[in-house]
C-alpha cells in the first residue's frame, strides 16, 4: 500500500463551546441533507500536472461520496459567486450563504518532488470559521484515495462519526442463466471505481468476507467439486484452502483481530460451527446440536458470536460466548431469521428475515429487543456493515417468469435509519457483498 502522509495544520479556530457550529445528527432519519459547496481545488499553473483533469475529478469523487451518504447535498457549481483563489484564504462568507451553502470546501493542489500535495479547508459559512484543514501528500496515481480521505474527514467533522469512503467492497459477480450461473470474486472501491475480478469463473465461488486487519478474503470455492473455505491474498493473488476438514466448510468470517476463522462444517448431514486459529492451526468445535448451525459472526470485542440455527424447529438467531458456552436464542418475533452480522459498533445485529413470503433486512439489539425492519422485498439477504456501522449493503434478486427469464441480482445499500436506499453499479450481476474497514 502506497503511503499517504497527512498533516493536520489548523486546529486553532475550534471554538465549539462558544459558537453553535454546523453539525449533522445522523441518528435522525429523513433529515434535510446539509448543503455544501465543493469548489474545484486550485492548481498552481506553473506546475504541470500530467493529468489536467485531476482537480475536477477530485471535486467529483468528493461530491459523489458525500451525496451518496444521503446526508449532504452539493450546491450547483453554476451558482458559485466567489471564484477566485482568495476563497481558500478568506472566503466571502456572505456570498456562500447567499447560495444556501452552509459549509464550504476549498483547496489547492501542487506537485512537490513528483508527489501530489493536496491541501483543503472546510468552512462554516454561518459561524464564518474554518472548521477543518489538512494537507495530504501521496503519489499522483493515488488521487482517488486522497479524494475519499477528504470526504471521510468532512463526514467525520460534520457527523462526529468516522467516515467510510476510503473502503472497498468484495462481492460475487454473476452472469449467465440461472441453472448455469457463472460466479467470480470481484473487488472494487466503495464507489464502484477500480473494479477487478479476482477469480476466473471456472469454479463456483460464494460468500467472500474481508479480513478486518489484512489484505485478505475468506470465501467458499467449489474447486475440484470439494466445497471448502479458502483464503485469498488480495495483493499476491495466492489462494490456500483453510484446514483439512472431512466435509464441506462454509459461511466463513474472521475474528476481529483477523487471526481466526469461524465457519460451519457439514458432516453426515449435520452442520456445526467451528473456529480455526490461522496461526496455530488449532481447530475447536463450538456447537454440537443435531440441527443446522451456520452463519456465525463475532462481536467486535471478540467475546461473543451470533449465529443462525434451526434447533428450535425454525431458523432463528442465537448468541453464544466465543468458546461456545451460553447458547441462547435472541430473535423473538414470528418469521424465520438468518444471516446475523454483528455491527462494528457492537450494539446491533443485522439480519435477514423471511415473513409471510417476503424478505426483510433488519436490525435488532444484541439481546433481540428493538427489532427494526429497514427494507422489504421479494428476495434479499446477506447484510454487511460499513466500517462505521452506519450503512448496510446486501443483495436483492428479482423474480423470473414461467420461462425462467427476468432474474437478476444486484447489491444495494441502505442507511441504518432505513432511508437512502441505493443500488450499486456493477459491470455484471452482483451478490454476497462484504465491506472492508478503512484502508490502512
Amino acid at each position: 500500500m502506497k503511503k499517504i502522509i497527512i498533516y493536520v495544520f489548523f486546529a486553532l479556530n475550534f471554538m465549539t463551546s462558544l459558537y453553535a457550529m454546523v453539525e449533522i445528527d445522523i441518528t435522525e432519519g429523513n433529515r434535510e441533507p446539509l448543503p455544501i459547496a465543493i469548489t474545484e481545488f486550485f492548481n498552481d499553473e506553473s506546475q504541470i500536472l500530467k493529468d489536467q483533469k485531476i482537480p475536477t475529478k477530485l471535486q467529483k469523487v468528493i461530491t459523489d461520496d458525500l451525496e451518496r451518504s444521503g446526508l449532504f447535498s452539493s450546491v450547483k457549481k453554476d451558482a458559485f459567486i466567489q471564484k477566485n483563489r482568495a476563497m481558500h484564504i478568506k472566503p466571502r462568507f456572505a456570498d456562500w450563504r447567499l447560495i444556501q451553502a452552509q459549509v464550504l470546501l476549498t483547496g489547492e493542489l501542487s506537485i512537490e518532488s513528483d508527489r501530489l500535495r493536496v491541501e483543503f479547508r472546510l468552512w462554516d459559512t454561518f459561524a464564518e470559521k474554518e472548521i477543518e484543514g489538512l494537507v495530504l501528500i501521496t503519489t499522483v496515481e493515488n488521487w482517488r484515495r486522497i479524494s475519499h480521505m477528504i470526504a471521510d474527514r468532512i463526514y467525520q467533522r460534520l457527523t462526529g462519526e468516522e467516515g467510510y469512503f476510503d473502503t472497498r467492497i468484495a462481492y460475487v459477480a454473476e452472469e449467465g442463466p440461472k441453472n448455469k450461473r457463472v460466479k467470480k470474486l470481484a473487488i472494487m472501491d466503495q464507489d464502484g471505481a477500480n473494479h477487478k475480478f479476482l477469480t476466473s469463473g471456472r469454479e463456483l465461488v460464494l460468500t467472500p468476507r474481508f479480513n478486518p486487519v489484512r489484505q485478505e478474503i475468506a470465501y467458499l470455492s467449489y474447486f475440484k467439486n470439494l466445497p471448502r473455505v479458502y483464503l485469498l491474498n488480495i495483493q499476491t493473488g495466492i489462494q490456500e484452502v483453510v484446514g483439512d476438514f472431512p466435509g464441506m466448510t462454509f459461511a466463513p468470517r474472521f475474528s476481529p483481530d483477523g487471526n481466526k476463522i469461524i465457519m460451519s462444517l457439514a458432516r453426515d448431514g449435520n452442520s456445526d460451527i467451528y473456529v480455526m486459529d490461522l496461526v496455530s492451526r488449532v481447530v475447536e468445535r463450538l456447537t454440537d446440536s443435531p440441527a443446522i448451525d451456520t452463519s456465525p459472526s463475532y462481536s467486535p470485542d471478540g467475546k461473543k458470536i451470533t449465529f443462525n440455527s434451526d434447533r428450535g424447529g425454525s431458523q432463528q438467531i442465537y448468541v453464544m460466548d466465543s468458546n461456545g458456552r451460553n447458547q441462547k436464542r435472541i430473535s423473538k418475533d414470528s418469521g424465520n431469521y438468518a444471516t446475523p452480522v454483528w455491527s462494528p459498533r457492537g450494539d446491533l445485529i443485522a439480519f435477514t428475515k423471511n415473513y409471510q413470503g417476503q424478505y426483510f433486512i433488519g436490525v435488532m439489539r444484541t439481546d433481540g429487543s428493538g427489532e427494526r425492519l429497514l427494507t422489504e422485498n421479494w428476495y434479499q439477504e446477506a447484510p454487511a456493515w460499513s466500517s462505521n456501522g452506519r450503512v448496510l449493503v446486501f443483495y436483492r434478486e428479482t423474480k423470473s417468469d414461467a420461462e425462467g427469464i427476468g432474474h437478476s441480482s444486484s447489491i444495494w445499500s441502505i442507511d441504518l435509519t432505513g432511508f437512502n436506499e441505493r443500488k450499486l453499479t456493477t459491470p455484471l450481476d452482483a451478490s454476497d457483498p462484504s465491506w472492508s474497514k478503512l484502508i490502512q
Partner: protein, 165 residues
C-alpha cells in the same frame, strides 16, 4: 407495509390440490393433470426433470419446503436405486443435494447437505457401502427449473444420484 401472503397462497394451492385428489377418488380419473397438482404438500410428484440411472431407476427424489424427510415416493425411488447398485457392485455414486431459491444462501448449503445425506443414509440402510457414496451440496446454486413459482421450487428441492465412474 403491505404483505403478500405467499405462504397462505401456497397452502390454498395445497388445499386445492388435495381437494382435486379427493375429488378424483369419487369421480373418474382425469386424463390431464394440471401443473398445480404436480405439487402435493409441497413435494413434486410429477415426472418432469427426472432422468434415469438405468431402466426404471429414477435419478432423483423431491422434498417439501425446508424439509429433508423422505416421502414414501422418495423411499420407493431410493429402494430402486439400492437394488440397482447391489446388482452393479462396481458403480460408485455422488448424491447432490439442492434447495430452492426461497432461502438464504448459507442455510441452503446446510439444507442441501442434509438432503443428500438423507438419501445416502437410506441407501446405506439398504446395504450399500458408504465407501461407494459421496455427497455434495449445491444449496440453491444449481436449480433445474429457473422459474420463480411453486412448481419450479418443488422441482429444485431435490437430491440427485449421479454415477461417478
Amino acid at each position: 407495509m403491505s404483505f403478500i401472503n405467499k405462504n397462505l397462497y401456497r397452502y390454498i394451492i395445497i388445499i386445492l390440490s388435495s381437494l382435486i385428489l379427493i375429488a378424483c377418488t369419487t369421480t373418474p380419473p382425469q386424463t390431464t393433470s394440471t401443473s398445480q397438482s404436480d405439487v402435493v404438500d409441497g413435494v413434486y410428484v410429477g415426472t418432469e426433470t427426472i432422468e434415469m440411472l438405468a431402466v426404471n431407476v429414477p435419478d432423483r427424489v423431491f422434498f417439501a419446503y425446508d424439509s429433508y424427510s423422505l416421502t414414501s415416493a422418495a423411499q420407493n425411488t431410493l429402494t430402486k436405486q439400492a437394488k440397482w447398485l447391489k446388482a452393479n457392485g462396481s458403480v460408485t455414486i455422488a448424491i447432490e443435494g439442492h434447495a430452492d431459491e426461497r432461502g438464504t444462501r448459507e442455510y441452503n448449503l446446510a439444507l442441501g447437505d442434509r438432503r443428500a445425506n438423507a438419501a445416502k443414509d437410506f441407501l446405506m440402510a439398504q446395504g450399500i457401502s458408504a465407501s461407494r457414496i459421496t455427497t455434495i451440496s449445491f444449496g440453491k446454486e444449481r436449480p433445474v427449473n429457473s422459474a420463480s413459482n411453486n412448481k419450479a421450487w418443488s422441482q429444485n428441492r431435490r437430491s440427485v444420484t449421479v454415477r461417478t465412474n
